[in-house]
């Protein structure tokens, strides 16, 4: 006999993500999931962005190994927890749920999750976030949106990082933006540079995020 099921492969993860979303909503915490290749500049972005945010922020760092990224965030005087996936290619909702009790959510405004460096595998895993950022370093080449369409399709905001390297790497920024818009016309796109002494676009990004956080608060 045949049993029709129509059962999503993501069902288990989605259920936990929904529970996380409900808890964060109840505690008034806005949450962001940052996805990008290894070395795209995810941690650098946080180091540069955090000083521009007048918010109580907490950070979850995902990496296969080491606590280095969490240490870099702690150095910014922001509470950070490191998840080591020991080979796992993405964070899933169960991992987030497990570490949430470490934070004082009642006193937290913003939770930022830096996913494992990987442009493919984190895409299908909802972490209960309000906003998904895909960070693309232009040094990776301008063809990445076309090669990883599902990743860019799932982005609310695409950050083009390392714009200082665009020219050196023969990347046409306008072309990259056009290709992102073909895949995901709804995604917002911002250019940033996260080098310590050559920062660019971070105040604009902070203002955009604060506007989104306020918009969600007034919506409630």
């Amino acid at each position: 006999m045949k049993l029709d099921l129509n059962m999503s492969l993501m069902e288990k993860n989605d259920a936990i993500a929904a529970a996380i979303r409900a808890e964060l909503q109840q505690q008034g915490v806005y949450s962001i999931n940052i996805i990008g290749s290894p070395g795209a500049g995810k941690t650098s972005l946080l180091e540069r962005l955090l000083p521009h945010l007048p918010l109580q922020t907490a950070v979850i760092e995902g990496d296969l190994a080491t606590a280095r990224d969490a240490q870099r965030i702690s150095a910014c005087a922001v509470p950070a927890v490191q998840i080591n996936t020991d080979g796992g290619c993405h964070l899933d909702a169960a991992m987030i749920k497990k570490v949430l009790p470490v934070f004082d959510l009642a006193k937290t405004d913003l939770l930022i999750i830096e996913n494992v460096g990987n442009l493919v595998c984190p895409t299908g895993f909802d972490l209960g976030e309000d906003l998904r950022i895909v960070l693309l370093s232009l040094a990776e080449g301008g063809d990445k949106p076309a090669k990883y369409p599902a990743t860019f399709l799932a982005a609310d905001l695409v950050l083009l990082n390392k714009i200082d390297l665009a020219e050196l790497c023969d990347v046409d920024i306008a072309q990259v933006k056009a290709e992102i818009a073909q895949i995901n016309p709804k995604a917002e796109i911002l250019e940033v540079c996260c080098r310590k002494n050559h920062q660019q676009g971070l105040e604009e990004l902070a203002a955009l995020l604060l506007a989104k956080i306020n918009a969600k608060k007034t919506q409630e």
Partner: protein, 119 residues
């Protein structure tokens, strides 16, 4: 390779779904996955072969059917199917479309025989 973790979930869900039945043999599990679901059929097959020996799925076959992208043109509103992104509109040539489907992945059905049932 996140396919192993997903297949593990799928097998436990399938086992739960089969619990009320007197199963003799599970014949086939059919999975449907959109081309944007980031699921490699080969990786799913490999995970299936690794995880099923010694379980009720040991003799079963895993079938993975790929689903196309469903899109709606932001220019003319036409709905169409595509194999990849970006996908220009076949009606007006417009390059911007809203993706309606193609990221989903699900266990569509299980085929099995019941104890005492002749095949």
């Amino acid at each position: 390779m996140h396919e192993t973790a997903l297949l593990q979930n799928l097998l436990s869900a399938a086992e739960e779904a089969l619990a009320p039945y007197e199963v003799e043999k599970v014949e086939r599990l059919t999975v449907k996955a959109g081309v944007l679901a980031n699921l490699l059929p080969d990786a799913l097959d490999f995970a299936f072969e690794t995880l099923t020996p010694g379980t009720i799925f040991a003799a079963a076959e895993l079938v993975v059917e790929t689903l196309p992208i469903g899109a709606r043109c932001l220019g003319c509103g036409a709905e169409y199917e595509a194999e990849k992104l970006p996908a220009a509109c076949p009606m007006c040539g417009g390059e911007q479309a809203e993706v309606l489907s193609g990221t989903e992945a699900y266990l569509d059905n299980i085929e099995f025989s019941l104890k005492g049932e002749s095949q």
